[in-house]
Every structure is written in structure tokens, then in C-alpha cells.
């Protein structure tokens, strides 16, 4: 059964806004609501979008609702809270949460929705703002296969690599793994660049040659370039990666799982947030290392 063309979208931030645009572009009717009224102002009267007064109203007008918000409490609030999606959604609705939250949150929300006959997929993404704009996101999905199959054509409008990983929560587990690898990778690249620089070696050439060997990675390529260009505009804000690593390490604590490298990386993101760099891109990690190496930032620029 195909999903109708009324699509709810909640969470119109850095990621959510371009994702909604990619859905609207092919002729779907977007039903939107945001907790901050100013996030909605630009959509009033815009063709293809209907602004609603609550998440419940969005749900009542939609065949499927996407949510893309910051953290577990936000997901709880917009889906299960007062005036939330669950209150307006009828049986047969599909809710797809694309936020990055704890796997346990995905399971809790899914259970509460199932009781009302509402289907749920957790579908966090990787690829950042540029991936959202260019519909190049990697989407990792948890949930039932039949529900996934119905939503797949919409996922294809948002991303390039769309994979059903397993049952509810599996998408968030895959995202947690993604955040471990990228969370550790960014400081590793920043350390290498700082090391090269301190040793008097041209970091540009270092990166170029390494991209041909075993140290080649998307992070060395993309994040490394941003660091060398000293472009610290997000992208992906440091506080968000801090949040994601907290989710990972809290889960590891509960499962008695040793994640020494991720734990070390989290401390570096703590350092960024604590020294006022929470709102810049994670590549700003380079500046943290420069400060600790006694490098004058203005001299590098």
C-alpha cells in the first residue's frame, strides 16, 4: 500500500529544513509545526507547506510523520507529550524519527505508539547538512520490514544509502557506532594536522599523501580539508557530537561495556563545549589542540 501524499515534518533545523524541502519538491504536501514560532515564519503561505498549531494537528492531517529534533527528551515531548503526535495520530499512521537518540528511547516511543496502532521506524542519518541539502544522506533504519518497504520511496528522496538494519532501535545502534567512529576520527585527524604543523611540515601535503594510503578516510578527506581551510562553520556542531557520545557511553555504562577510545574522545568534546566552542563545527577540535600546544591562533590564520 502506498503512503498518501500528506507528510508531516517536525523539526525544521539545520538538517530538517532541507530534508522537508526535498520531500516538498516532488509534490508532497508538507504539514509542519515547530516548537519555536520563528522557525515557522518563513513557511507561512509558502506553496506546498501547511503550518499547524501543534504536533497533534500535524499528525491528524498526515499519513506519515517525520521528526528530526535534538535529543531524547525532545523526541518524547513531540511524540508522546501533551499535544504530541500520538494524541493526533490515527491508527495506521507511520511515525519515522530521524533524530539521533538513545536506542532505549526509540524502543520506548515505539511501544507507546504500537498500543495506539501507530507504526514506528527509527531512522537516524549521517552526512551532515550538505548531505541533507543534496539528498545524499546515509539513513540507518530500525523497525518492521513491511513498514520500511512502504517508507523506502520517501527515504530515497532524502538519502543515497538507505538500509534496514534490524528491529526497532537497530537504526540508533548503527548510528551510535557511526558516532564512535566519526567522534574518534575527527580528533585523530586534528591531532595529525597539529602534529605535522608543530613539526614544521606542510599539513596540506601530509593530508594529500595520506589520502593515498591506509589512513585514507572520509574524515581525513572532508574534515581534514575543513581544518586546513580553517572553516569551522557548522556542519555538525561540537555540542551535538558531545551529546551523541554521551548517549553511546551511557549505554555502554548500562551494559558494562568498555569503550576507552570513545570515552577519551568525549572528554575532548567536553573541552570544546567548556571553552566556548560548542556551537562551532567539530573540526574546531583543531583549535583545542592548538591552544594546548601553545599555538597562537592568529599566527595560524
Amino acid at each position: 500500500m502506498n503512503i498518501g501524499s500528506n507528510i508531516g515534518f517536525i523539526g525544521l533545523g539545520l538538517m530538517g529544513a532541507p530534508m522537508a524541502r526535498n520531500l516538498a519538491k516532488v509534490g508532497h504536501n508538507l504539514h509542519i509545526w515547530a516548537r519555536r514560532p520563528q522557525a515557522l515564519a518563513q513557511y507561512t503561505g509558502l506553496a506546498g507547506y501547511t503550518v499547524h498549531a501543534s504536533a497533534a494537528e500535524v499528525a491528524a492531517a498526515s499519513d506519515i510523520v517525520f521528526t528530526m529534533v535534538a535529543d531524547s527528551p525532545d523526541v518524547h515531548q513531540v511524540i508522546l507529550g501533551e499535544g504530541g503526535v500520538a494524541q493526533g495520530g490515527r491508527s495506521g499512521l507511520i511515525v519515522v524519527d530521524m533524530s539521533t537518540v538513545a536506542p532505549a528511547t526509540a524502543r520506548e516511543v515505539a511501544t507507546a505508539l504500537f498500543e495506539r496502532g501507530i507504526d514506528f521506524l527509527d531512522a537516524p542519518v549521517s552526512g551532515g547538512e550538505s548531505g541533507a541539502i543534496n539528498a545524499q544522506l546515509t539513513i540507518m533504519v530500525g523497525g518492521e520490514e513491511a513498514v520500511f518497504a512502504r517508507v523506502k520511496p520517501l527515504f530515497d528522496l532524502l538519502g543515497k544509502s538507505v538500509t534496514l538494519i534490524g528491529g526497532v532501535g537497530a537504526g540508533q545502534v548503527a548510528k551510535a557506532c557511526n558516532q564512535i567512529i566519526t567522534g574518534v576520527g575527527v580528533p585523530a585527524v586534528a591531532e595529525a594536522i597539529n602534529f605535522a604543523h608543530k613539526a614544521g611540515v606542510d599539513a596540506q601535503r601530509m593530508r594529500e599523501v595520506l589520502l593515498g594510503g591506509f589512513a585514507a578516510s572520509r574524515i581525513l578527506e572532508m574534515h581534514g580539508k575543513r581544518m586546513l581551510d580553517r572553516n569551522f562553520t557548522p556542519g555538525f556542531k561540537a555540542w551535538m557530537h558531545q551529546k551523541d557520545l554521551r548517549i553511546v557511553l551511557d549505554a555502554a555504562h548500562a551494559q558494562h561495556l568498555q569503550l576507552p577510545t570513545a570515552a577519551a574522545a568525549l572528554q575532548l568534546y567536553n573541552g570544546m563545549v567548556g571553552s566556548g566552542m560548542g556551537e562551532i563545527d567539530t573540526t574546531g577540535m583543531l583549535k583545542l589542540f592548538e591552544r594546548m600546544s601553545g599555538i597562537d591562533e592568529e599566527a595560524v590564520q
Partner: protein, 295 residues
């Protein structure tokens, strides 16, 4: 001068709580107790305490209530929610009474509870302790308190019955922050001692002798004396159950992230504790950090 007898409530009759109640009774105070399972209160009642039917009921008979419970959620339940209906401490405490929480919980939870109590004119101190079961028995606990100075001054004579080093550190939450610092420094030192024992053994050097050489020097510490000795004797029984330190680390690392404070060593110790727990040693001593290295 003998202090005036006070009406005191006490909740949390474990390894720490039971001897603390004894000290309060010996000090001449009238003590009410409550426990989820009445059987847990048997010792306290035998020593002269009165069992009350609920936290609220205990609160109605008390001017000052102490709690020392395992988790922040438990403290929240006992104080704010009660076990069924409105029978939490907050529902029985009168204006001008004091709740002193001696549990180790998150500073944010301490502040939350204090806020709820303040609305009803009830004072609050967070006053976690260090010194373990032995310190509780001997009345030699270190007590680190957060809250208003005048409330601290009022409670101080009671603290003196239970502890030896009693410090008012700052406002509400400061006691819990101090306890977090205490746990970080202590468990990181246990890990350091374990690594030293492991390096000595790997080189076939007797760690007991290494210890005796180190004790008088710059690396000497109470942790080295106590935990180093346990490791040298391969006595891994608790002591302090490692699961409690593991629990504390979740609070510490959460607080660090919230504050934007990097704690690189603590983060590694946290992960070693995860491995210790995964090995099934949670109810044994934290000196098992040595056995994690030996795996």
C-alpha cells in the same frame, strides 16, 4: 555540655545507615526509622529506634530527617513521591524542619530536591560521606556538606556524632560535587596502584616489597596502603563494592559533560570499571581493577 535531645528521622538502614543510627541514639536523640521492608529495621529498632509506617509518617515525628540511600531516583521517590500516594517525606515535614541527604547522588538531583522542599519552607543539606562501613562504625566519617551556613551550623552537632572531618563546602550541591571529586581521586589512585602491581608482577618483582619501598616516598597514600595491600595479598573481597564506584562514575562523567569539563583520566577509569562489571566482580572490591589488567 550535653546537647538537647532532638526528634530525628532516619531512612536507609544499610551498612552505613545502621551504625549511624546507633551513634545518634547513643547521643541521646529520639530516632524514628522507616524501611521498605520492615525486617531491615530490626537492628535499629533493637537499639531503641521507633519504626514508622511511611516516609511521611516518619517525617511527622521528626525535626530533622537523614537519608542515606543508593541512587538519586530512590532519594527522589522517598522524598518527593513516597511509595504509594502522597506519603513522601515532603508530605510530612513541617516548615522549619531539615532534610539532610547523605546519599551519593547527582548534584542536579540534590538541587532539584532542595528546590521542592524550599517551596514548603523545609531546609535541605546535601551531605555525602566518605570512609565506608568502617568509618560509619567508628563514627569517623568524612562529611562534606552543601547548603545554607545557618542550616549547617544547626546540624553540625549531629554530624559530629557520626563523623570526624566535617566540612561545609558551599551552597546546595557543593557536597555532592566534593564527593564526586573524592571518588575521582580515590578510584583513579586505585587504578594507578593496580597498574603498578601489574607492572611489578610482569617483571617478576614482589609488589609487597615495591609497596614498602614506595609508602614512605612521594607516591605514598592511603589508597596505596589499603588497596595496594589488598592487591598484594590478592584479597579481592569487598571492602567497598565496586558496583557502587561504577554507579558514581556515571554521575561524575555526566556532570563533566554538562559542565564542559574534560576529565581524561576519569574517563579511562570509568571504562576499566565497565570491564570489571562485565567480569562479574561488581559485588567484590574495587581492587579487582588489578584483575581486569590481568585478563
Amino acid at each position: 555540655m550535653k546537647a538537647e535531645s532532638m526528634k530525628i528521622g532516619f531512612i536507609g538502614l544499610g551498612v552505613m545507615g545502621n551504625p549511624m543510627v546507633q551513634h545518634l541514639i547513643k547521643g541521646g536523640h529520639e530516632v524514628s526509622v522507616w524501611a521498605r521492608r520492615e525486617a531491615s529495621a530490626a537492628d535499629a529498632v533493637a537499639n531503641g529506634a521507633t519504626f514508622r509506617a511511611s516516609p511521611a509518617e516518619l517525617a511527622r515525628h521528626s525535626d530533622i530527617v537523614f537519608t542515606i540511600i543508593t541512587t538519586g531516583d530512590d532519594v527522589e521517590q522517598v522524598v518527593l513521591n513516597g511509595t504509594s500516594g502522597e506519603n513522601g517525606l515532603i508530605h510530612g515535614l513541617a516548615r522549619g524542619t531539615v532534610h539532610v541527604d547523605m546519599s551519593t547522588i547527582a548534584p542536579t538531583m540534590a538541587r532539584k530536591i532542595a528546590g521542592h522542599l524550599a517551596i514548603r519552607g523545609i531546609d535541605f543539606l546535601d551531605a555525602p560521606v566518605s570512609g565506608g562501613g568502617m568509618g560509619a562504625q567508628n563514627g569517623t566519617l568524612a562529611i562534606m556538606a552543601g547548603g545554607k551556613p545557618e542550616v549547617f551550623a544547626r546540624i553540625k552537632p549531629l554530624f559530629e556524632l557520626m563523623g570526624k572531618t566535617i566540612v561545609h563546602v558551599g551552597p546546595t550541591g557543593a557536597g555532592q560535587i566534593t564527593k564526586a571529586c573524592n571518588q575521582m581521586v580515590m578510584v583513579a589512585a586505585i587504578q594507578a596502584v593496580a597498574e603498578a602491581a601489574h607492572l611489578a608482577a610482569a617483571n617478576k618483582v614482589d609488589f609487597a616489597r615495591v609497596m614498602s619501598a614506595m609508602q614512605a616516598g612521594s607516591a605514598g597514600s592511603r589508597v596505596l596502603d589499603f588497596f595496594g595491600d589488598k592487591m598484594a595479598r590478592r584479597d579481592f573481597a569487598a571492602g567497598i563494592e565496586a558496583r557502587l564506584h561504577h554507579k558514581d562514575y556515571a554521575l561524575i562523567m555526566d556532570e563533566a559533560a554538562r559542565a564542559g569539563a574534560p576529565l581524561p583520566i576519569s574517563a579511562q577509569v570509568w571504562q576499566q570499571l565497565n570491564a570489571l562489571m562485565a567480569s562479574g566482580w561488581g559485588k567484590e572490591d574495587t581492587s579487582n581493577l588489578l584483575r581486569v589488567l590481568e585478563k
